[in-house]
């Protein structure tokens, strides 16, 4: 069995993305714990289904993308007051950047393991880059507009 070898240490694109994938993975652990703790702090502890359990779907929406619109279905009072501030906006933009870059770079790595024709590879790289720009712009718009 052969796995994709780790790139040589240096200022190459491959190495930068390799180290970014690992560091952003760790950072997303940290950010999810912050979102998770923030969800309980800002009211999830009081939002119980059947008076017994926290709604896990709602908790996950808070944990991974703490946006007022993202939690609007959970009927927490004062959602906007708790979540629409600079701290959570910075958290959202950070997790959006890390998630989108980590994910779309992963898509690139998988594609490039199966496609070796250089022009097709370049084309797909360009498409993924455009997709990344698109997701970042739309995500930041959603964050700022809510």
């Amino acid at each position: 069995m052969s796995s994709r070898p780790a790139p040589q240490i240096g200022f190459s694109f491959e190495y930068m993305m390799w180290i970014f994938t690992r560091l952003s993975g760790l950072a997303m652990f940290l950010l999810s714990f912050i979102g998770f703790a923030g969800a309980f702090w800002l009211g999830a502890r009081m939002y119980l289904t059947n008076n017994s359990f926290v709604d896990i779907g709602a908790l996950a929406r808070w944990t991974f993308f703490p946006n007022p619109n993202h939690v609007v279905n959970t009927n927490i009072p004062d959602v906007a007051v708790g979540w629409a501030n600079a701290w959570w906006q910075i958290m959202q933009i950070t997790i959006l950047f890390l998630g989108a870059t980590h994910g779309l770079n992963g898509l690139r790595v998988v594609i490039e393991d199966y496609i070796d024709r250089s022009w097709l590879r370049t084309l797909l790289r360009g498409l993924i880059f455009l997709l990344w720009i698109f997701v970042m712009l739309f995500g930041i718009y959603v964050i700022q507009a809510s």
Binding site: P5, S52, F53, I56, V110, D113
Partner: protein
């Protein structure tokens, strides 16, 4: 040089063992999450701006318990397996034990996911 390397369709063939299964599942779960999050961002944007039916319906699917059960499995697996990859990459001496660690990660994942899934199904079956 990683770029020159081409796995080809042979790379998709299952050659046995827990690590191969973890490798394949890591890729599948990663791609599935990219697809899900991408579609979810687009659907939410369209829903917010134009209130179109397909976007609303898509987000209703995303909110259903059964869909969440699948996506939570993928997230848990990707997170735990990713943590294993990070630890083994940063401390390559541990690579000697990678087969054991791959089993250990399932021993972590199964109770974690089982507990989450149980609570979600209790909520679902208990009514809103």
């Amino acid at each position: 040089m990683a770029l020159k390397r081409n796995v080809g369709l042979k790379g998709l063939k299952y050659r046995g063992g827990g690590p191969m299964l973890a490798w394949a599942l890591h890729r599948i779960s990663g791609l599935a999450m990219v697809l899900f999050v991408g579609m979810h961002i687009v659907a939410s944007f369209v829903m917010q701006q134009f209130g179109s039916d397909w976007a609303t319906n898509l987000n209703i699917v995303y909110e259903s318990t059964y869909f969440q059960l699948i996506i939570i499995f993928l997230v848990y697996f990707h997170a735990i397996n990713g943590m294993r990859i990070i630890i083994l990459d940063f401390w390559p001496k541990l690579l000697e034990y990678q087969r054991e660690v791959t089993w250990l990660q399932w021993m972590l994942l199964i109770p974690m996911y089982g507990l989450t899934a149980m609570v979600m199904m209790l909520i679902k079956l208990g009514g809103e």
